[in-house]
Each structure stands twice: as C-alpha cells, then as structure tokens.
C-alpha cells in the first residue's frame, strides 16, 4: 500500500509529520531523530515542498537476509517486512505515476529510505541522490534501479545503511555498502549479503560471529577477497603523517571508495570537498613543501593540500558526511574512552557523576597527540581491482625519484616553458596531483579535449594497459584554470621489476615519448648489432646465434637512459603548452 503526504521543509511541518508517522507506524519509526536529520539535509531547489510516499510491507533484501539468518531465531517476534519512504521534490500525486509521467521525468526523486522494525539500526538500505542534498564537493555514485508505485526509476547514489549492532556492526555495514556499490557499478563483482559476509568471517574466525562483536582489519580484507577484490592495507603507523594523507588523497582522487579504519570504528570514504585550485582560502605558506637538491630548494604543492574535507559514509552519522581524518579520529577516540570510562564506573550514574559533555570538555588535543591516536588506530583498506599490481605507494615512489625529485627533469621542463622560477621560488611551486584511472576513461577524455590532430591520433591509436597511474604537473595559475603542463603515465599492471619502472609515456611542451616504442627500437638495434658482431659476412640474420640473455641485460641497462634521452633531445612539436586536467573519473561534482 502506498500512502502519499506532502510537507513543507521546515521544522514545524517536519515535527508535525513525524508525530503522525510515529502514531501510525510505531514499529518503524523507532529512531525518528536520525530520520529527521536526513530530511534536514534535503536541498530542494525547485520547491520548498517535498512529497513522501510510504510503501508498507516492503521487502528489503538486506533485512530479509538478516531476518532469516538471525532475527527469526529469537523468542521475541520480529516483523519480516519493512516500510520504504520515497521522497520527491515538489507536490506529487498518485495519478502522476500513470502513463507517460511527464511531471516525474524532471528528475524530482530525492531518494529512498528503508525503515526496519528495529530499535537499533532502524534506518535500513537507503539511496539518496547527493545532488539533492546540502553537500558540496565530488562524490562517487552509481546508478540504482528502484520501483516506486509500479514504475521504474533510476537514482545515482552511494548506498547507506545504519548498523543494527547484532548482525552488522560498523565493519560489516561498511563492507556491505562498499561491495554493494562495486557490484552495482562493475560486472566483475557481485553483491555479498550479510549472511555471506558473516559466513566468510566465520571461516577465518576462532570465535562466534553472531551477535557481531566487530571485525578486525585482516578479517575485513578476507571478506573483500571473497568479493573478488585484491585489497591493500595501509596502516598509519607504517606510513607516517604526510604519506598516509597523500595515499588517502590519491585513492580518493582516483575514484576508488575504500574503508578508513578509526578507533574501534570503520567508515567508507567516497569523495572529497571542493578543491581550492584558485587558492581563495589557502595561504601558500601553509600548504607548500620543499626539498633540497644540490643545495637548492625546490617548492611543491600537492593538490591534496587544497582539499579541506572528505566525504564519508559513516553509519553513526547522516549520509555523505563531510569531515576530516583528524576530526573523525578524535570523535571515535573520545567515544572509545567514554565507553571505557563507562565500564570502569559501571553501576554508578555517569551522567550525574561526570556527564558526557563534561568528559568531552576536559579533552583538548594538541597537534602532537592526534598523530599518536592515528598511529594506534587508523588504517586504509583499499579494494583494488585484480589487475592493479602497482599500488599508490609504489607509483608515488617512481614519480618521486624519476620526475618530481629528478633535478635534470625539472631543469628540462623549466627550460621548455622558459619559466626559470618554476619550482625555485616559493610563489611559483610545482603543483602536482597523482591518480589512478582506467585507460579507457583517460583516452576518451583526451580524445575529447586534445588541441590537434597529431595528439588525437596518438591517444586514439595507442594501445594502453587497462589501468594507468597519472602524474600531472603544472603551476598555480595553470591549475586555477584546470590545466597542467607535464603528463607522466605509469602502467598500473606493471611490476616493479620492469626495466622501465612501469613508465609508459612522458610528455611536456614540444616533447613526448611513448616507452614501448623506445623498448622496441632498442631491442631491434641490439639484435642487429649483435648479429653483425657475430657474423659479419652473413647476409641473412641468424636468430639462433643470438644470446638472448645478453640482449635483455643490454636493454635493461640502456632502456631508461634511452627514454630520457629521447624525451629531452627529440622535439615533438605537436605537444602543446598545456592540457586540460583529467576530470572524467568516477568522482562527480555535486
């Protein structure tokens, strides 16, 4: 049965609505404040009215799975069905769903929220369009099909769910939502239902998994493996302050949602806030870093420093929450301390004794204490695709040693642009960003934005590996116009044993190399040289006489030198001054 109600998006109207709803559906509105918080997030531009459609007896596949694997086995009665709330912008009538639906074709759907008959974890599987919420930034979403009043609708959202604390804690919830996202977006993955997640955990656990007591990092990775991912774990303790943040940013920028481990908690990071490319609210001195080469300072800015906040799916907060790693770490560290404190003085009235707010007021953290907390608890669990062999930390090292920290390379690019202060003066640093992308998206974007036919020919003809790491280097002024100067590509399917350190291509004004070509030419050159040495009088090449090990060793030694020689000394006039920075990743602006 569908019930329609239209309400105004103000506190008074919402309160009135909820009084009626709680009376009518007491079993399903057990956490009204949390539902209200989500409604207050709505950002309806077309109208201040919102239509709510309540669908009773809704079968939610996630809850039905938890119900049969857990709730049905209890003595107390639990309902099998849920109710689902669907929100539309403006006033919608039942008849609007008939025939061609001209009114509903205007993208009015805000989203859906499933309400489970539970007192903890009342909010079930929810899909909310971030474009219709009060958030700014870039998020990863995928397209979901939903049925409302017998009609098909499509919504771009990231799945959200709260933990019921019995079958699913934060870790299982994060895993479920993450795998749900990937399964909907890519055909390589399939959804893992809560019972399947618990089964995988059971296989690798020595204790019972129901009621859930939480999941540690290795077990979370095990579940991701079961979902056909190849996860990579980065612990703050091992990576250190700057490195951890940069790894975090490069995966967000690559459009890969991943799990951030916090003190006794886990959340999914799905995007970042606005990037201050124009440097409107960032002081240069606060974000700039430098390195010293041959007694000279070289200045850098990673574009990650221009991002203030990230967007998370935290099952304890509203969906698409904007926050920072530090803020979340402090929040859950305090929660943990409070729980410990609660345990210590159990039996006493905590609120009267000290009070939650008072306990929190006592805590203020200095710059030095926050890294200490992060060191103890924070980690990144990144569900990589099976063919991404080169991870962010390895790609970063290659970019560093051969490009960003290579004085010869830096000198050559300065010369090419006739910009002698680039990187040498504090007000003109090297601005760089790295990210991983599929070569298909990259080539498509390049072919769409290239300035001349030669470049189009290059990007459209060239076979690339399935995934590539990209380094873009520019200046503050080029990045403020969404442009960069230097482009370096690494083959993400390569290994670190490769002769070329996975370098695929390098390009800047008037210069470009495509590495497989250099390797091919070098191989041919070596073979003919060796053949000539062996049989000077022979008119035909005899391949059986070639010592292939020698060839390979020669190539290994020469290949990198050849790449950079070709890059520096061969001019390719068709490569222009600047190019448009890549913006066709999974991250979409909201």
């Amino acid at each position: 049965m569908n019930t329609f109600v239209t309400f105004k998006l103000d506190q008074e109207n919402i309160n009135e609505l909820f009084i009626t709803l709680i009376r009518k559906y007491p079993l399903y509105f057990q956490e009204p404040e949390r539902i209200k918080e989500i409604i207050y997030l709505f950002d309806t531009k077309k109208s201040d009215l919102v239509t709510l459609i309540i669908e009773s007896d809704y079968v939610d596949r996630q809850y039905r799975d938890s119900y049969y694997s857990y709730f049905s086995q209890k003595y107390s009665n639990f309902e099998r069905n849920c109710i689902r709330l669907a929100f539309f912008e403006g006033e919608i009538k039942y008849r609007d769903f008939m025939a061609d639906m001209p009114k509903l074709k205007k993208n009015l759907l805000i989203g859906t929220i499933v309400l489970r008959p539970l007192s903890v974890g009342n909010i079930g599987h929810s899909l909310l369009n971030p474009q219709k919420l009060k958030i700014n930034g870039y998020v990863q979403t995928c397209k979901f099909k939903i049925m409302i009043c017998g009609r098909k609708f499509f919504i771009k959202a990231f799945p959200y769910l709260t933990q019921d604390n019995e079958t699913m804690t934060c870790a299982e919830t994060a895993l479920f939502n993450l795998i749900r996202y990937y399964s909907e977006k890519y055909c390589e993955y399939r959804i893992l239902m809560p019972s399947e997640i618990l089964k995988t955990l059971e296989d690798s656990s020595y204790e019972r998994v129901l009621p859930s007591q939480g999941v540690d990092d290795p077990c979370m990775a095990k579940v991701l493996q079961a979902g056909h991912f190849h996860p990579r774990l980065y612990r703050y303790e091992d990576e250190g302050e700057g490195n951890f943040e940069e790894l975090f940013y490069s995966y967000v920028e690559s459009g890969i949602p991943f799990i951030l481990g916090l003190p006794q908690h886990a959340v999914i990071c799905i995007g970042h806030g606005s990037v201050d490319f124009k440097m409107d609210h960032h002081e240069l001195s606060e974000i700039i870093t430098y390195d010293i080469f041959e007694d000279k300072k070289v200045y850098y800015i990673c574009t990650g420093r221009l991002v203030d906040e990230y967007i998370f799916m935290d099952d304890n907060q509203t969906p698409y929450i904007m926050s920072t790693i530090d803020k979340l770490t402090i929040r859950y560290y305090e929660n943990m301390l409070y729980e410990d404190y609660e345990e210590e003085i159990s039996g006493e009235d905590i609120e009267n004794d000290l009070g939650n707010t008072q306990l929190q007021d006592q805590m203020s953290y200095s710059e030095e204490t926050i890294p200490g907390m992060k060191k103890q608890f924070d980690s990144l669990l990144v569900p990589l695709y099976k063919r991404i062999f080169l991870d962010a930390s390895r790609a970063r090292s290659i970019f560093d040693d051969h490009f960003l920290h290579n004085p010869d390379f830096l000198e050559k690019i300065r010369e090419a642009y006739d910009d002698i202060t680039w990187g040498t003066k504090e007000d003109n640093p090297f601005v760089w960003r790295i990210y991983l992308t599929s070569s298909n998206s990259y080539k498509d974007f390049k072919c769409k934005t290239v300035s001349n036919f030669d470049l189009f020919q290059y990007y459209s003809n060239q076979p690339y590996p399935r995934f590539i790491w990209v380094l873009e280097i520019g200046t503050i002024s080029t990045f403020s116009e969404q442009m960069a100067r230097v482009e370096v590509l690494l083959d993400a399917t390569s290994s670190t044993n490769s002769n070329t350190w996975a370098i695929l291509s390098i390009g800047y004004k008037g210069h470009m190399v495509f590495v497989p070509y250099i390797v091919e030419q070098l191989n041919e050159k070596q073979i003919s040289e060796m053949n000539l040495c062996h049989e000077e009088n022979s008119t035909t090449q005899d391949y059986s006489s070639i010592n292939w090990e020698d060839v390979s060793e020669e190539v290994k030694q020469k290949v990198l030198t050849e790449i950079f020689k070709s890059l520096y000394y061969k001019s390719n006039k068709f490569v222009g001054d600047t190019y448009k920075i890549f913006s066709a990743s999974n991250l979409k602006e909201v």
Binding site: T169, C170, A171, S212, Q213, G214, V215, D216, D217, P218, M220, R232, L233, Y234, R235, E237, D238, E239, G261, L262, Q264, H265, A266, F377, S379, S393, R394, S397, I398, D401, H402, N406, P407, D408, D454, Q457, Y458, S460, N461, Q462, T496, W501, M512, V513, F514, Y517, Q521, L560, T561, F564, K565, S566, Y568, Y569, K570, S571, N572, K573, F574
Partner: protein, 65 residues
Amino acid sequence: MALHFESYSLPDALKENTVVSSENTAKISKRLKKANNSLVKKMKAIGRKEKRSWQKSHLRNSKRQ
C-alpha cells in the same frame, strides 16, 4: 565504386631516432643510476612495510565495531 582504405598510426615524430652526444648520455645515465638505486631500496622498504602491516594487524586484533 573502388574501395578506399585509409589507415592511421602514431605521429611519425614519435618513432624517429635521435642522436645525442655521449657527454649528455653519460650525464643522464649517471643521474638515472642514482634514482634507480634509491628506487630499488624504496621498493624493498614498501614490500617490507606491506608485510609488516598485515602481521601487525593480525597481532593487534583491534576490532572495528
């Protein structure tokens, strides 16, 4: 009507060979050797870090709930 085939490949400029003085080649080679050595060490360190991360996570057993 006669069929007309047209094929496109990489810009020729990318395929050309280049002649560079041995002095410049030696300079590039020297710098790359340094970078290579540093990278080999870094890669080994990353590999060790990766192993350590998993080992410590197993040992720590801190559950996320």
